[in-house]
């Protein structure tokens, strides 16, 4: 125990006297949290309250044009600008990025639709032998096509979604028109009464709540994302400091001296891990306080941390252990401080990018999302999101904590194995 406590005290003294190192460990993540939360506030709001700019040229003055326009407005996801511009200008506006979508409803679209429906109904009734006396109305020349322009960078899935929304508006009108014509023709035969033939929605969709508490109603905003994200990043940056400490001890002979002393080196390593874990915990506490108290002073929403302190502590401790374990591995594998600091910093940045620290994982391409699942920073961030956004409990975050602990075990084990092989 004396070896453990004296190692912890020694490591903490060394860390506290390293002002540059302290700045990296505390000021950098604090600055990152504040800066990134401010920078990403607007994009996050935009994403949550997204309105798609749409340029609409409605040249049809009758039912079809009105129905589509009303449908687009009622969807509340479009920011509609009406125009009387020719098709070529609309195309240019969309291509130039002023609008995401351009729609042209052609002149007399309703008349064309009605003619097509009339011809269709007459043909069907005649074929059914219901009436030979019915005369088909002349079909309007040409096809009825609504023109849709998409911005060049529009994703395929987004296009499909927009087209199906538009199809929904026109389908109902097509059906209604068909029904009206059938009724009209059958009435002429005296088959149907003259009642109105409004279509009721036969199948409706009801959105059900998946959340039960106000905590769960929280949406991901800049603060809820950036505070845990950069806290984890800051904790993992301890890798540079820890690897540097291991390499320095090896270079200056302290490691040799320690090995020549009685007792297990594991105790010394445990002391080192404990000291760095303590620093990680202080980092985490400070960063969360920045989110709760400082960011609201800058006009951002306050961080909401959920109701499970035990879950937060569990994730913070496991994340700290994963970071220190990684530091031990980097410090063991590399020979010089320059190598370890460069590799440590770059690898943490890559793991952070994959783990959704910079941008949330759900906006990443599918292939990258698969890789994200391998980043310990992703596990930690997912666990914090579960607590902060979903009101997750200790048990809810336990799987993530176990993954982080497994990573710690793997890194420390790999370092031990490497040392054992090297010293043969």
């Amino acid at each position: 125990m004396l070896r453990l406590t004296s190692t912890i005290r020694k490591e903490l003294l060394i860390l506290l006297r390293d002002r540059g190192g302290l700045a990296i460990l505390f000021l950098m993540p604090m600055a990152m949290i504040t800066l990134m939360a401010l920078i990403q506030d607007a994009p996050f709001r935009d994403y949550q309250e997204l309105k798609i700019p749409l340029l609409l040229s409605n040249r049809d003055t009758s039912t079809l044009g009105k129905t589509i326009e009303e449908g687009l407005r009622s969807a509340k996801i479009f920011e509609i600008t009406k125009t009387g511009q020719p098709e070529s200008s609309i195309k240019q506006s969309v291509k130039g990025g002023d609008y995401e979508i351009g729609i042209v409803i052609p002149e007399n679209a309703t008349t064309i639709l009605n003619s097509k429906v009339n011809a269709f109904v007459n043909a069907k009734l005649s074929a059914a032998g219901l009436s030979d006396s019915l005369k088909a109305a002349p079909a309007a020349p040409g096809e009825l096509s609504l023109l849709i322009f998409f911005a060049p960078d529009t994703k395929k899935s987004f296009k499909i979604s927009i087209l199906s929304t538009l199809k929904q508006f026109t389908s109902k009108l097509e059906t209604q028109t068909l029904l009206d014509y059938f009724s009209k023709e059958l009435n002429r035969e005296g088959t149907l009464s003259g009642k109105e033939n409004k279509i009721d929605e036969l199948v409706s969709f009801k959105e059900m709540n998946t959340v039960e508490t106000p905590q769960e109603m929280l949406q991901l905003n800049s603060v809820q994302h950036n505070v845990p994200a950069w806290t984890i990043f800051g904790m993992f940056f301890i890798v540079i400091s820890m690897a540097g400490s291991i390499i320095k001890e090896r270079d200056d002979g302290s490691y040799t001296r320690i090995l020549s002393m009685p007792g297990s080196y594991i105790t010394v390593m445990a002391g080192k891990i404990t000291a760095y874990l303590f620093i990680c915990m202080i980092q985490c506490l400070l960063m969360l306080m920045v989110g709760i108290y400082l960011l609201p002073l800058l006009g951002l929403p306050a961080l909401v941390i959920g109701h499970s302190v035990s879950a937060i502590i569990l994730v913070a401790v496991c994340c700290g252990l994963a970071a220190t374990g990684y530091g031990i591995l980097v410090g063991t594998l590399f020979k010089t401080h320059q190598q370890s600091s460069t590799f440590g910093a770059v690898s943490v940045v890559i793991l952070a990018a994959l783990g959704g620290i910079w941008v949330p994982v759900y906006v990443m391409p599918e292939s990258i999302r698969i890789l994200s699942g391998l980043s310990p920073l992703y596990w930690a961030l997912s666990a914090f999101h579960k607590i902060f956004l979903g009101g997750g409990s200790f048990m809810a975050v336990l799987p993530y904590a176990l993954k982080l602990l497994a990573f710690f075990g793997f890194t420390v084990g790999a370092a031990w194995l490497f040392n054992k092989t090297k010293n043969k």
Binding site: S6, T7, R9, D251, D252, G253, G263
Partner: protein, 249 residues
């Protein structure tokens, strides 16, 4: 094993992984208790490998090492309690004070409390460093660091002290303090195993020497007798006669 032997080395061989040539090749020697033993040799001769193996830092490829009657292979913990190591590097933490460094090392040997503090202060005073006890080691001169490095190796009063070039790069005054103290420690019964490239210092300090080259011991005995036997005027001349004048890098 003789009761007067502090260290016995039998057929010790060390071949590093990936190297075909042995760094130390089947050497055997005995270091009597209470002696100051100089292990001398040019660069790459096998001195550090031998000392590292005796300190339990390296596993021998072949052979048996015994310290204070304990076989190193099976009782290294018991041995480690009774040996002190002063590495060639300044194995100290520059941002810790002299006192903090020594207290940490004392704690690692199981020493603690006021007796440890008293022990540290006595050593600091003896080596002329008491007034610097609260200063960070990083601010010290080379000689001061060497003296702290030595205190770190003897704080727990080991029975055997290993010194790897303890006076390299220090001024004459610091070297004098260090060698005088080594004599005192030796008089108190401590066995000292010492390596150095300073032949004059080794001649004055050691009562037993072994010269190692290319992993083999080429001569051993009392320095004065060896000088006389080989018809040399001093240890440096003897050393050059045995190891040659060819540069070793």
């Amino acid at each position: 094993m003789s009761s007067t032997a502090a260290i016995r080395v039998e057929h010790f061989t060390k071949i590093y992984k990936g190297s075909g040539t042995p760094a130390v090749d089947d050497i055997s020697f005995t270091i009597p208790s209470g002696s100051i033993f100089g292990l001398l040799g040019p660069n790459g001769a096998g001195k550090t490998t031998t000392i590292s193996a005796l300190c339990g830092l390296l596993k021998p490829s072949k052979g048996e090492l015994q310290l204070l009657g304990y076989p190193l292979a099976t009782q290294s913990e018991e041995i480690k309690k009774n040996i002190g190591v002063v590495p060639q590097d300044i194995a100290l933490y520059p941002t810790l004070t002299a006192f903090e460094n020594l207290r940490y090392i004392g704690n690692m040997y199981g020493l603690k409390g006021s007796s440890l503090d008293k022990n540290i202060l006595e050593h600091l005073e003896h080596f002329g460093l008491l007034e610097h006890s609260k200063k960070q080691v990083g601010t010290f001169s080379g000689g001061m660091k060497r003296r702290i490095n030595l205190i770190a190796g003897i704080l727990h009063h080991p029975k055997i002290l290993f010194l790897d070039e303890p006076t390299v790069g220090v001024d004459v005054q610091s070297r004098n303090v260090i060698t005088e103290h080594l004599h005192l420690l030796n008089k108190s019964g401590m066995t000292i195993v010492y390596t150095s490239h300073l032949m004059e210092e080794a001649e004055n300090l050691c009562n037993e020497i072994a010269v190692i080259d290319h992993g083999k011991i080429i001569i051993s005995g009392q320095p004065k007798e060896l000088i006389k036997e080989q018809a040399c005027s001093n240890l440096e001349e003897l050393f050059l006669k045995l190891t040659g004048k060819k540069l070793r890098d």
